[in-house]
């Protein structure tokens, strides 16, 4: 088992280097020079361009810059934000809590709703319950989250006045964004739960259990579900990426704090240290979650080892 974990970690290294390289070189492809951003916004003279460029190390050769970037990034140092002139690290730290809160809440909703819908559909396979559950799931995958978010705001904030339309902090402000984000992921989890449960239910040992006269509930929850969950866990890990990406949109729709909004804003403003920091941190979070899922998976199902 230990060697499996180590192997898995070793494979991670080239991927992490690749990610950092892509994130870094994106800045190089930028149409023009980001330093002008700063001067454009603050409305000052242009005499400082050369010095600022030097300060941000933009006068160095590509690989030297990449090396500096990498050695700093490893220590969590992404430099100063061009626009806000504060360390990117601090800004990310400030915003991370809100995003974690949002994605975790959405994850809980998506797992609860997704597994619930999937199990119901699988048990009542072929009935109108199955059709309805799968239709709800179809709606979930097909609705753009910025639209479902706006619909929820319109209904629950503007018309009914039950929940705040925007902002961070407090449970009430979390509900609508988390539901918006969780619903789209729930749809996918529901589909996977259903199909893997059906798969398992068709297998020999389940049939045996049934033949032995065990009740339907015991069969589904005791035997089949435990096995189907293995597949579901992987999908949940993958969905975490979708949630992190979706957080960008949800944070924008609901005017929430968060790293996704920070990233979107930084991209619009070509604030490259901020883009690099936010994208790298989000990606790293996703990679680590998947690593964790893989390892858990390896423990849960000894048949599967990383080849």
């Amino acid at each position: 088992m230990g060697s499996f974990v180590i192997r898995r970690l070793l494979i991670l290294i080239p991927v992490l280097v690749g990610i950092s390289f892509l994130v870094f070189s994106a800045m190089y492809l930028l149409p023009g020079d980001a330093i002008d951003s700063l001067l454009a916004e603050t409305g000052g003279s242009t005499r400082d361009i050369e010095r600022l460029r030097k300060e941000f190390g933009l006068d160095q050769p590509f690989l030297v810059q990449y090396g500096t970037f990498l050695s700093r990034a490893v220590r969590g140092d992404f430099g100063m934000s061009l626009r806000q002139r504060i360390p990117v690290k601090g800004a990310i730290k400030d915003q991370m809590g809100a995003t974690i809160e949002l994605t975790l809440a959405a994850l809980v909703i998506s797992i609860g709703m997704g597994i619930g819908l999937g199990v119901v559909a699988a048990i009542r396979r072929g009935t109108w319950i199955d059709t309805t559950a799968m239709f709800i799931s179809l709606i979930g995958v097909s609705m753009p989250i910025f639209w479902s978010g706006l619909l929820l705001i319109f209904l629950f904030s503007l018309r009914l006045g039950w929940l705040p339309a925007a902002g961070t902090g407090g449970f009430a402000a979390l509900i609508l964004p988390a539901v918006t984000l969780g619903f789209s992921a729930a749809a996918i989890i529901a589909r996977v739960t259903r199909s893997s449960l059906l798969d398992v239910l068709g297998q020999d040992y389940v049939r045996t259990a049934r033949a032995k006269g065990l009740g339907n509930r015991v069969v589904v929850w005791g035997h089949a579900m435990r096995n189907a969950l293995v597949t579901v866990v992987t999908i949940v890990g993958l969905q975490f990426g979708g949630l992190l990406g979706g957080a960008v949109v949800v944070e924008t729709v609901f005017g929430r704090q968060g790293i996704g909004f920070l990233a979107a804003d930084a991209i619009r403003q070509q604030d490259f240290p901020m883009v690099q920091g936010t994208v790298l941190v989000s990606t790293l979070a996703f990679v680590l979650v998947n690593l964790a899922v893989d390892i858990v998976y390896g423990f849960v199902d000894p048949r599967i080892r990383y080849a």
Binding site: I11, R125, L138, P144, F146, W147, G241, V279, S282
Partner: protein, 298 residues
């Protein structure tokens, strides 16, 4: 936000040597599958509506009407007018062209690049496979929309760049589907025979392997179109895609949400349009998968 299927589930879909009867069988199954029928029908209607937007739309999508700002739905304007008095139905119809084009082009980019990388990885194997595999791992490591956003950051904001960005983020799906298929087809006798008699690799790839990977890629492509359209609209919604006054659905939503309290229809119509198109492609794609790969049928 991602396609409801993963490449590996469809990777086994293709079967070599399709015959006339096989095609007929597939067609007959398609005619009977409710998802294919409903999704496909809806899709046809939507495609026709956007293609004939210039005939169907009663107004120019860019023409403003200073006397009818944010007009509610009415007989003259079934979906209302936007905050500059432009007819929303006409804008939604023309906007369909942008969204469908974005879906098609970005999927084409993913498909071409993904198939090329997948064939190279599967056929040559070894180090080539290793390098390509790591590269795909890197692409897959970015959560959701973030890879597309990073691409926009590098290339600059705009509709064309949004298509490229969404296209790049879809490469791994096709690469994985193709690679798996090539790996299994490579084992086939006729490929080995072709190699043994020294046929050029290009010809082997083109004649013998390509036909095998069509079916799985068609399924992935169909299922990807919906995600691609949502990604594209999301980029525009975030201000990273299409620019005003283009009647792009995501952009229309972004512009309309300022008026959510006073004129809800501004954000309703374009959202509904995205929803319908994506739902249609998902239904159709799911159905297609069922039909082409009966083993996965639930």
């Amino acid at each position: 936000m991602s396609a409801p299927t993963t490449a590996t589930t469809v990777a086994h879909a293709a079967t070599a040597g399709r015959t006339r009867t096989r095609t007929q069988l597939v067609l007959r199954r398609m005619r009977r599958h409710p998802g294919v029928l409903i999704g496909g029908g809806l899709l046809l209607v939507i495609i026709a509506a956007t293609l004939f937007a210039h005939v169907l739309a009663a107004y120019d999508p860019l023409d403003i009407d200073p006397e009818n700002l944010s007009g509610p739905p009415s007989a003259k304007h079934p979906l209302g007018t936007d905050s500059l008095g432009r007819d929303l139905l006409s804008r939604v119809l023309y906007g369909g062209r942008i969204s469908l084009l974005l879906g098609l082009i970005s999927v084409a980019i993913s498909l071409v690049a993904g198939v090329a990388l997948g064939m190279a990885a599967g056929y040559f194997g070894g180090e080539t496979d290793e390098v390509i595999g790591r590269f795909i791992d890197v692409l897959l490591a970015f959560p959701g929309l973030l890879l597309a956003m990073l691409t926009i950051f590098a290339l600059g904001v705009g509709l064309t760049n949004a298509m490229i960005a969404v296209g790049i983020s879809g490469i791994p799906l096709f690469q994985r589907a193709t690679r798996a298929e090539v790996l299994s087809a490579k084992q086939n006798l006729y490929v080995e025979a072709a190699r043994a008699i020294g046929a050029p690799e290009g010809i082997i790839l083109w004649r013998h392997l390509l036909p095998n990977i069509i079916a799985p890629n068609v399924i992935v492509a169909t299922l990807r179109v919906g995600t691609a359209i949502i990604f594209g609209a999301s980029l525009s919604f975030l201000g990273l895609g299409a620019q005003a006054p283009a009647p792009e659905w995501g952009l229309m939503l972004a512009q309309g949400r300022t008026f959510l309290n006073v004129a809800w229809w501004l954000s309703f119509a374009p959202g509904l349009a995205i929803f319908l198109v994506v739902m249609a492609t998902n239904l159709f794609g799911d159905g297609l998968r069922d039909v082409l790969d009966p083993r996965l049928r639930a």
